[in-house]
C-alpha cells in the first residue's frame, strides 16, 4: 500500500475566460514516478504547474478546487508560495542554468535560504551533483560556467540544483524533449534512482518514456483526465477507448 503525497480534488483552471482544466481529481503516490501524458495543449503542463503554483506568475489565471499536499491545502495559504516551492521543486523543459558557475548554480537555493556555512554548502553541492550523476563529469571544473556543459549535462545540473534544497516532490516538465537519446537515458536512470527519496511527477509527450520509467500514468485530453492507473495496466489494458486510440497512435 502506497501513501498519497498529493491529492487533487475538483480542480478547474482558467486562463482568462478559457478553461484549461476541467474538474481534475488525481492522486500522486509517495516515492513513485507518475507520468502525465497527452497531446500538446491538453493541459498537462498547466496541471503540473498548479502543483508548485508556478502558474501564479501568469496574469489572468483562476484556480478552483483543492490541491492537498500532506493535508496542507496549497491554494488556501496565500503567503506560503515560497515554502511550497522549497518542498515541491521543478525542472523545466529547456535546461535553464543560471549564467554563473556550476557550483553557484547548485548552491543557489541554499544561498537564497540564507545558508552561510561554506562547508555545509560544499557538502550539499557535492551530494546533489552525485545524485544527479553529474559529479564525476564536473568535479574538476566546478567554477567554470554552467554554459560550458552540454545540453544533457545542463539538464542534470538543473536537477542537481533542484535536489540541493531537498524537495519532497520533484516536478519535471518534459525534461528530455530537448535532449538526445543517450542524455535522455541518463536522466531516466537517475530519476528511477532518486525516487527512493522523492516523489516524482513528470510530464512527457514521449509514451515510451512514460512506459520505461513511471509507476503510474495519467492520460489527459482537452483538460480532462481520461484514465489514470498503474503504467503497465494503462498501456497494456486501457479501459477507455480514447486512451487506447492515443497509445496505439490513432491520433497524437
Amino acid at each position: 500500500m502506497v501513501d498519497t503525497k498529493i491529492k487533487i480534488r475538483d480542480l478547474d483552471f482558467f486562463y482568462g475566460k478559457k478553461q484549461i482544466l476541467f474538474n481534475v481529481d488525481l492522486d500522486f503516490y509517495s516515492n513513485q514516478i507518475t507520468s502525465l501524458i497527452g497531446p500538446s495543449g491538453c493541459g498537462k503542463s498547466t496541471l503540473l504547474r498548479c502543483l508548485n503554483r508556478m502558474n501564479d506568475i501568469i496574469p489572468g489565471i483562476k484556480v478552483n478546487g483543492n490541491i492537498l499536499y500532506n493535508k496542507f491545502n496549497l491554494y488556501k495559504e496565500e503567503n506560503s508560495v515560497v515554502e511550497i516551492r522549497k518542498k515541491i521543486g521543478m525542472v523545466f523543459q529547456k535546461p535553464n542554468p543560471f549564467p554563473m558557475s556550476i557550483f553557484n548554480n547548485v548552491s543557489y537555493g541554499l544561498r537564497v535560504q540564507g545558508e552561510k556555512d561554506k562547508e555545509k554548502i560544499k557538502k550539499i553541492v557535492r551530494e546533489s551533483l552525485e545524485k544527479a550523476d553529474l559529479y564525476d563529469e564536473v568535479k574538476n571544473r566546478l567554477n567554470s560556467s554552467a554554459f560550458s556543459l552540454s545540453g544533457g549535462q545542463q539538464q542534470r545540473l538543473c536537477i542537481a540544483r533542484a535536489l540541493a534544497i531537498n524537495p519532497d516532490v520533484i516536478l519535471l516538465d518534459e525534461p528530455c524533449s530537448a535532449l538526445d537519446p543517450i542524455a535522455t537515458a541518463k536522466i531516466e536512470e537517475l530519476l528511477k534512482k532518486i525516487k527512493k527519496e522523492h516523489t516524482i511527477i513528470i510530464v512527457t509527450h514521449n509514451m515510451h518514456q512514460a512506459k520505461r520509467i513511471s509507476d503510474y500514468t495519467c492520460y489527459l485530453l482537452d483538460g480532462k483526465i481520461i484514465e489514470f492507473s498503474e503504467t503497465n495496466e494503462l498501456f497494456n489494458n486501457p479501459k477507455n477507448k480514447l486512451t487506447k486510440d492515443y497509445i496505439n497512435g490513432v491520433f497524437g
Partner: protein, 286 residues
C-alpha cells in the same frame, strides 16, 4: 542569365551602402579633424586650469566651465540614474500588464522625444520659480535629470527585458521570492546594460545648451560654484558665447578649443561605457 542579374543587383546595393557609409565617415571625420586642428592650438595648461578672463580671453581659461559641466554630470547622475533604474525595475518586474501601465510606458517613451528647450522651460517654471531654487546648479541638474530620465528608464527596461524569463522562473521555482530573484539573478545580468544606457543619457545631457541657459548657466563667472544654489559656467554654453557673442579676434579658436575639451569629456564617458559593455558581453552566454 538570372544569376548574373542577381549578382549585378547585389553589387549595386552594396555600392550604395558603401557610399553612404563612406559619406558619413568622411563627414564625421572632417568635423573632428577640423575641430582638432583649429582648436588644439589654444589648448595649454593655462587654458585648462585657470579662471575665465572676459576682457582678454587669451589670458584666462575655461576651468570654471569644465568644472561646471562635470558638476552638472554628477548632479544629473545622482538624480536620474537611481530613479530611472528603480522605475524601470518597477515597470518591468512588478507592474501588471494593463492598459494604465501600458499608457505610462508609452508616455515615458514619448517624453524621451520632447525637445530639450521644453524641459528648460519646465525647469524654469518649476525648479527655479515655484520651488525657489533660483537659477542654479541644482535647478539645472534637476532639469537635465528630468530630460534624461525617460531615456534611462527606456534603456533600463530593455536591459531588464533581455534577461530571459526562464532565469526568473528557475529562481522562483527554487523558493526565491521576487525580490531575491531580482537581486540575485535579474540585476546582475542587466546592470551593465542599464549603466550603459545611463551613461549615454548623461553624456547627451552634458552637451545640452538650450535648457541650461534658462535655469542656471551663466557666461561669465570668476569663481567656482560654492554650493548647489550657485550659478555655473558650462562648456556648451561657453562655446556658444565664444562663437557668437564675443568680439575678441581669437574667439573662434577658443570656441573650437572649448569644443575639443567637451568632445574629449564625452568621449571619455563613452569609452567607459564601451568597457562596461565589453565586460558584459564576455559574460553573456545564453
Amino acid at each position: 542569365m538570372v544569376k548574373m542579374d542577381e549578382q549585378k543587383k547585389e553589387k549595386i546595393y552594396f555600392t550604395i551602402f558603401k557610399i553612404a557609409t563612406f559619406f558619413s565617415v568622411v563627414l564625421l571625420g572632417f568635423i573632428l579633424i577640423y575641430i582638432f586642428v583649429k582648436g588644439v592650438s589654444v589648448i595649454n595648461l593655462n587654458f585648462l586650469t585657470s579662471m575665465w578672463n572676459h576682457q582678454d580671453i587669451t589670458k584666462g581659461g575655461i576651468f570654471p566651465a569644465i568644472i561646471g559641466t562635470l558638476f552638472l554630470a554628477v548632479g544629473v547622475s545622482i538624480f536620474s540614474i537611481p530613479i530611472g533604474i528603480s522605475t524601470a525595475i518597477y515597470l518591468n518586474e512588478f507592474a501588471k500588464d494593463n492598459l494604465f501601465n501600458r499608457l505610462i510606458k508609452l508616455s515615458i517613451r514619448n517624453l524621451a522625444g520632447v525637445p530639450s528647450i521644453v524641459y528648460g522651460l519646465f525647469g524654469l517654471a518649476f525648479f527655479v520659480l515655484l520651488l525657489k531654487f533660483g537659477t542654479s546648479l541644482l535647478a539645472a541638474s534637476l532639469t537635465l535629470g528630468c530630460m534624461t530620465l525617460p531615456w534611462i528608464i527606456t534603456t533600463s527596461e530593455e536591459a531588464l527585458k533581455s534577461v530571459p524569463n526562464s532565469f526568473r522562473e528557475a529562481s522562483l521555482a527554487l523558493g526565491a521570492t521576487k525580490i531575491e530573484t531580482i537581486k540575485m539573478i535579474v540585476l546582475p545580468n542587466s546592470l551593465g546594460g542599464m549603466l550603459t544606457g545611463s551613461i549615454l543619457g548623461i553624456s547627451r545631457a552634458m552637451g545640452e545648451t538650450a535648457p541650461i541657459i534658462m535655469v542656471g548657466a551663466t557666461f561669465f563667472m570668476n569663481y567656482l560654484p560654492k554650493s548647489a544654489f550657485d550659478k555655473f559656467m558650462a562648456l556648451p554654453y561657453h562655446l556658444f558665447i565664444l562663437a557668437t557673442q564675443h568680439s575678441s579676434p581669437y574667439s573662434r579658436e577658443y570656441a573650437l578649443g572649448t569644443a575639443l575639451v567637451l568632445i574629449f569629456l564625452v568621449f571619455s564617458l563613452n569609452l567607459g561605457m564601451f568597457v562596461i559593455r565589453y565586460k558584459l558581453r564576455s559574460k553573456k552566454e545564453w
